[in-house]
């Protein structure tokens, strides 16, 4: 990418680093805004007893604690924050004095990493996923009395994991890669319902050409998204640092009323 004064070649520029060892980078050979961090591990096929980053297919390695073992490397690529495309459709239907306009916005592709999900699933246990019954009909929140879950995976020696762990307030034990989501969405960004007063009501005042009453709503409906519990459009920051959610607010829904007098 460029060389510093001592001749070292820099292959990566860190744009922002976050909790959980997650970072946003400009890396050689990667699209701008690549999101990287720790991921699951699998047994190295060529070196048994060693782990390599999970390929997404093989058996994941579970440590002796019964939770997933994450890589030490934080350079595993989750994706990048750039969408494939963004677009919107605006349409207006008119019937007599009424008109209905709406704007549908969509974004396809790009990743968002959610610290909220990372904490909620791994530490605080506030999400509904942390409550439930296992195959024995016992609570997954405690390992007492046949409760808890066995995370699918293998131990470092290749034998299947058999240890029950609690999915409670403390840990699901998933590496940060689990919480990178597709940031696509389709939303009803805006809808406007307008009623135009009949002209004959004010025909004696020739200065006024028309009077319209409108109700305008924004952010009315998130039609489709792949990120649980929050709006993928919410971001921790803007500019170079995107694709990060931390303490995301719900998008503000506004409903407004408008009177438009035309002269």
């Amino acid at each position: 990418m460029f060389k510093d004064e001592t001749g070292n070649e820099i292959k990566n520029i860190l744009l922002g680093s976050f909790q959980g060892g997650v970072s946003v980078n400009a890396s050689v050979g990667q699209p701008y805004g690549t999101i990287q961090g720790k991921t699951y591990t699998m047994i190295d096929p060529s070196k048994p007893g060693q782990v390599i980053p999970w390929d997404g297919v093989g058996q994941r390695v579970v440590s002796s604690s019964g939770y997933y073992r994450a890589t030490t490397t934080t350079t595993n690529v989750y994706g990048n924050y750039n969408p494939n495309w963004i677009g919107g459709v605006y349409n207006t239907f008119k019937y007599k004095n009424l008109s209905l306009g709406f704007l549908v916005d969509a974004r396809n592709g790009g990743k968002v990493w959610s610290l909220d999900m990372y904490y909620g699933m791994n530490f605080t246990g506030v999400y509904p996923e942390s409550v439930g019954l296992n195959e024995n009909g016992k609570s997954i929140r405690t390992t007492d009395d046949g409760g808890g879950v066995i995370l699918p995976g293998v131990l470092i020696d290749g034998t299947p994991n058999t240890k029950r762990v609690a999915i409670d307030a403390n840990q699901v034990g998933a590496p940060a890669s689990e919480f990178a989501y597709d940031a696509s969405y389709v939303k009803l960004r805006e809808a406007v319902l307008t009623y135009s007063l009949p002209r004959n009501l004010f025909k004696r005042v020739d200065l006024i050409k028309g009077i319209d009453f409108s109700i305008i709503g924004r952010n009315l409906w998130l039609i489709h998204k792949n990120l649980p519990y929050s709006d993928p459009e919410e971001n921790l920051s803007a500019g170079n640092i995107q694709g990060m959610q931390s303490g995301a607010y719900p998008t503000t829904r506004t409903i407004g009323f408008n009177i438009n007098v035309k002269f």
Partner: protein, 498 residues
């Protein structure tokens, strides 16, 4: 009538506006384009000059600030920076078990420790030394003393980094022109630190001044005390490698023993003030932060109870039922049923201990047991260490005498070999010295503590390198990680033989 006139006037004005608007449009655009060109300047580098920045920072201020940052980091109980009280099982947590269960990665704790050491401490020391070196008005003896003191503090911080991480950037560190410093071999760095320390000790001259009373918050300018500090540090650094390199350990310990601390009066205490923001960090973490979820650990509490230790009420408070009860480390604990750290721990003006007589006396006892030629007997040093610990926590001579007379405490009759005896008592005495508590647990392997409930790894023998080192200094990181045998917390460092 009036209304109609008003309408008419308005109508005319509106029409004029509309007509003129189009014609003037081009004019507006050309004017603004013109402004755009005129406002440009060929040389924009002048914008880089920070005209409002302080032109000079006094060397003494940088020195005090670095010392303060060091003390802050050592004292802190922030879960973003210093989780060592949980690692050594002095404290437990009520609710959040992340750090307690050895998850240091989520909050990037190694990054805070590393950044704190390099950026906030070592860099200030370096800059302070640079300014002192360039100061032609400084008297030679004073200059030599100041530079030696800074060097000794740098040795302290670098040795901490080596014992925390292993290989670290050293020879190429702290150079803004080199953003990719290589990692140096931990043992090589350590050897250099020992020789730097020996040389700086010889440069300290009590006949000249050092830093002023205001600048030197630890020793108020006393060179004699800095000399004792440096010798004590040398004993400590020697003892750290006693297992891996007994010969070098012996040389350093024997050379420094006589000049080291003679009593608790010599302790290197950073004097905090009783008012914010210059209070002990624990006051901010616990009192101002309103955190009541730091609890006594069962491991330490049970020992204090079993030995009827006079430090029990000094270390911890009682639970809501008026009893001393420790919480299980790594498990969810009930606040009301568990003891919390005493109010003494979180006192605003509680000193920040950088190095003390208590740990030195334990080192001396150990040195005797290892056959090093230092003064006194192991039993006496052991006794001194415990007594000084009790008294500096606010206990009395009588408390100490009673305690030391117990067969389970008395060096002659206490259970186990010297490592077991010293290890247990040192672990108790290093309460609120979490970084050193961790160091001694790794070094002595005594007392044997079980892993916390839900531990994510084995006992941490080191910190993993900061996450962002992989992003910022990838090539050198990868080389260092593979050289030390994997960037895992369980990887043992060169001095940690057992």
């Amino acid at each position: 009538m009036r209304n109609e006139n008003l309408y008419a006037e308005f109508h005319v004005a509106y029409k004029n506006l509309k007509n003129s608007h189009m014609k003037k449009g081009l004019y507006y655009i050309s004017v603004s384009l013109g402004l755009l060109f005129f406002s440009c300047t060929k040389d924009i580098s002048s914008y880089n000059k920070e005209t409002k920045r302080a032109a000079d920072v006094p060397a003494g201020t940088l020195f005090s600030n670095a010392t303060r940052n060091l003390s802050d980091n050592l004292c802190s109980a922030s879960v973003n920076l210093n989780p060592f009280r949980f690692i050594v099982k002095h404290w437990a947590m009520a609710t959040y078990q992340d750090e307690v269960q050895y998850d240091f990665s989520t909050r990037n704790i190694p990054q805070s420790w590393w950044g704190g050491a390099y950026r906030d401490i070592l860099n200030d020391f370096k800059e302070s030394a640079r300014i002192i070196n360039e100061d032609k008005t400084l008297q030679a003896g004073e200059k030599a003393n100041q530079l030696a003191i800074i060097d000794i503090m740098q040795v302290y911080v670098f040795s901490n980094l080596v014992t925390t991480f292993g290989d670290i950037p050293y020879t190429q560190a702290l150079d803004a022109g080199n953003v990719n410093p290589v990692y140096d071999d931990a043992k090589t760095v350590y050897t250099d630190l020992l020789s730097r320390l020996a040389s700086s000790i010889s440069k300290l001259d009590a006949g000249s001044k050092g830093f002023s009373v205001a600048e030197d918050i630890v020793y108020k300018g006393s060179i004699a005390n800095w000399k004792k500090f440096a010798n004590t540090l040398r004993v400590k650094l020697g003892m750290i490698i006693a297992d891996s390199d007994p010969g070098t350990a012996k040389t350093n310990v024997e050379a420094a023993d006589a000049g080291a601390f003679g009593s608790s009066a010599d302790d290197a205490n950073f004097a905090y003030l009783s008012s914010t923001p210059n209070t002990n960090p624990l006051y901010a973490d616990i009192v101002l932060g309103g955190r009541g979820d730091y609890l006594a650990a069962k491991d330490l509490m049970d020992q204090l109870i079993a030995l009827d230790d006079p430090r029990k009420p000094l270390y911890f408070g009682k639970n809501n039922d008026g009893n001393y009860v420790g919480g299980i480390v790594g498990a969810v604990n009930t606040l009301a049923a568990t003891s919390k750290p005493s109010s003494k721990v979180s006192e605003a003006s509680a000193p920040g201990i950088i190095l003390d007589y208590v740990e030195l006396e334990f080192y001396r006892a150990e040195a005797k047991e290892r056959g090093f030629n230092v003064s006194g007997t192991a039993a006496d040093h052991y006794k001194n260490a415990i007594k000084s610990s009790i008294i500096s926590w606010g206990g009395t001579d009588a408390d100490a005498t009673t305690y030391l007379a117990k067969s389970s405490v008395d060096y002659a009759t206490a259970a186990g070999d010297w490592k077991t005896k010293i290890g247990l008592q040192k672990w108790i005495a290093l309460y609120n010295r979490p970084m050193d508590g961790w160091l001694e647990l790794r070094r002595l392997d005594k007392p044997v503590l079980s892993l916390p409930v839900g531990a994510r790894s084995g006992f941490p023998n080191r910190y993993q390198y900061p996450n962002n080192e992989q992003q910022l200094n990838g090539k050198n990181y990868t080389a260092a990680a593979s050289k030390i045998g994997g960037d895992e917390v369980e990887t043992k460092l060169f001095w940690d033989k057992n």
